[in-house]
């Protein structure tokens, strides 16, 4: 019975799209006024995704909102989505954090391992961050080895964390040249609704901030290692890196910056993720990346940097 019900629903949706299509071919004019009203009241039903106008003509749908100084989901240009954070829900990881930016869901889990440090850098431990965009998070990703886009995201996140000096790798060393911690941070995107980088940084910082290292005793003669899990020391962290991403919508007079873009907005602004990511830590700029999208004037860049900074305060 349930399937029947569901199926019927989809079919009915199609017929209504058909009807509107006919109407539109007659007219080609549309006022988004009432559509706006409808998304505002029923935004939690995610109806906007199935909105006939959006399905038929996504660009015009998008621009007609932008012209009226509002985004399709009812936000202002500089408004963020709600952020939800859930810490240490996963028992099998050392620490974990689940972060939701609207629909975007990201989970970071850390694993602690021991290894000998690198010969060229005997006093440092390891911090290995990987971002995995698994195929279940979006129809854009296919199973198999990580795509170019996934590798870029992984690189960006790891760069931001390394540049921000959030963690001093020297703190991860136990015995010089003999033993050091290896901190594996695996970030998994479960639902990709735009702005993955910001969510990844939030998840990563949250799980590293709650991390504590067990005490290790190392006998240099017998090379015996003993770990005491009851006696833990929390990991020293420096500041709190925050990344803020914007999509740049190329408008005729002036490009428009959209804070915290969702997938639809990212697509409308050139695809492949957010266009500019600015990250701050402790009042220092620790990363800025502009990729694709519209062009940006210097004032706007400054504005973006300022907006990102305000967010960290």
């Amino acid at each position: 019975m349930t399937h029947a019900c569901n199926l019927e629903g989809r079919q009915r949706l199609q017929t209504s799209i058909g009807a509107v299509l006919i109407q539109l071919s007659r007219f080609y004019i549309h006022t988004p006024r009432h559509a706006l009203h409808y998304t505002h009241t029923h935004v939690d039903f995610r109806c906007s995704k199935y909105h006939p106008f959006r399905v038929i003509h996504p660009v015009r749908y998008f621009t007609s909102y932008i012209e009226r100084n509002v985004r399709p989901d009812g936000r202002k240009f500089d408004e963020h989505r709600n952020i939800k954070l859930n810490i240490n829900t996963i028992k099998s990881a050392e620490t974990s954090a689940l972060v939701k930016y609207g629909n975007t869901t990201v989970i970071c889990g850390t694993k602690l391992e021991l290894a000998a440090p690198k010969a060229e850098d005997p006093d440092s431990g390891f911090l290995v961050t990987n971002v995995e965009l698994v195929p279940l998070c979006s129809p854009k990703f296919r199973p198999g080895p990580p795509s170019d886009h996934a590798q870029v995201i992984s690189n960006v996140v790891s760069e931001i964390i390394n540049n921000s000096k959030f963690i001093n790798l020297k703190d991860l060393c136990i015995v010089s040249d003999k033993l050091a911690w290896v901190l594996y941070c695996d970030i998994v995107c479960l639902d990709n609704d735009g702005n993955v980088v910001d969510a990844c940084i939030t998840a990563l910082t949250a799980s590293l901030k709650t991390l504590s290292l067990p005490t290790v005793t190392y006998d240099p003669e017998t090379e015996e290692i003993k770990v005491d899990t009851n006696n833990r020391i929390s990991l020293k962290v420096n500041g709190l890196p925050v990344a803020t991403s914007f999509a740049i919508f190329p408008n005729c007079e002036r490009s428009i910056l959209l804070t915290d873009p969702n997938t639809f907005e990212e697509e409308m602004c050139g695809g492949n993720g957010a266009n500019i990511t600015v990250s701050w830590n402790n009042g220092f700029l620790c990363g800025i990346l502009k990729s694709g999208g519209g062009t940006l004037s210097i004032e706007q860049e400054k504005e973006a940097i300022k907006m990102a900074k305000e967010r960290t305060l």
Partner: protein
């Protein structure tokens, strides 16, 4: 093993620190003793296994259908995408195909970190999941097309295959893929005369690696079934069990699967109600839009008529002049 250039790799020889903790060195007997002690405390309040399942649909906004299932500490998300043409195939296939992929998160297991690339266990689970859900789907309705089912195990605390099957069944329902019946799955670990229904990781592990000197029953069974049709879609057993024991376990698991059905049904009903509401809103908005457009159309036509009348009369007058 070849180096994975697409990811960041840690040092090759890193080992989990848990190997150096006193717990790691415990022998099999000690572990078993611990477990039994713990269970004795727990079994005071006999718990209903079916109640421990938490399920939810529509967790992933980008997917056609998705579900999240939690059994004990095991957490699985599953998403289903639109059918697409079967890639790399020139022959026409009369039945649709189902492609399954099960993946463990690198941090999902409490011991060692899992490598991010799929290993043998991932592949075996993917195959088992496909076997379990294939009989439930009306595959003749989408010939030459393939439905992708992705399951991701966020945390593994035993019975992860059962959780993945339950999640996949719900996700398929959410995606409105026609199916014959709701699919439910349950698993059991057996150690000697003890049977752990829906085992956790500890119980599963102990049941799997029994001491070879003793000739006892040990093993893990996962069973999935279509309860309404009373058909078993998959039955997977590992270990060493006597026939009587297998049959006894089967009866219990069958009952367990049946008890799970109302829970799953509740989730599905909730999902349907939500969809119906969403649809009503869409319908209303479409109607509203049509009205507005109609209004405009009439207005335009009226003005056109007026204009053409004007033009006509103008030209008429000019002719006269």
């Amino acid at each position: 093993m070849p180096l994975d250039y697409r990811r960041f790799n840690g040092p090759d020889d890193s080992v989990s620190y848990k190997r150096f903790t006193p717990d790691f060195l415990k022998s099999y007997e000690e572990l078993l003793g611990d477990l039994l002690e713990k269970n004795n405390l727990k079994d005071e309040q006999a718990s209903d296994e079916a109640q421990r399942v938490f399920a939810e649909t529509d967790t992933i906004s980008q997917a056609k259908g998705s579900a999240y299932v939690e059994i004990k500490n095991t957490k699985v998300v599953c998403s289903v995408f639109d059918p697409r043409e079967i890639p790399h195939q020139n022959e026409f296939s009369h039945l649709g195909q189902i492609y399954c992929e099960v993946k463990f998160a690198p941090f999902s297991c409490s011991s060692q970190r899992r490598p991010p690339a799929p290993d043998a266990e991932d592949k075996a689970l993917s195959e088992a999941l496909r076997q379990a859900i294939e009989p439930a789907v009306c595959r003749h309705l989408f010939p030459n097309y393939q439905i992708d089912v992705f399951a991701y195990i966020i945390e593994n605390d035993g019975s992860c295959l059962a959780a993945a099957i339950n999640a996949a069944g719900l996700a398929l329902t959410d995606a409105a893929v026609p199916m014959y019946d709701l699919i439910t799955a349950s698993s059991m670990a057996i150690l000697d005369d003890k049977m752990f229904v829906v085992p956790n990781e500890e119980e599963e592990e102990l049941a799997m690696k029994s001491q070879e000197s003793k000739d006892i029953n040990h093993g893990v069974i996962t069973l999935s079934m279509l309860s309404e049709l009373s058909q078993i879609t998959s039955f997977i057993q590992i270990g060493s069990l006597e026939t009587d024991c297998v049959i006894k376990a089967m009866d219990i698991l069958e009952k367990e699967c049946k008890e799970l059905v109302p829970n799953i049904q509740k989730v599905v009903v909730r999902n349907v109600i939500k969809n119906v509401k969403r649809q009503q809103i869409l319908h209303e908005s479409a109607k509203e839009m049509e009205e507005i457009l109609d209004e405009k159309y009439n207005l335009w036509q009226k003005s056109l008529k007026a204009k053409s009348y004007l033009c006509f009369s103008l030209s008429f007058f000019s002719l006269l002049a």
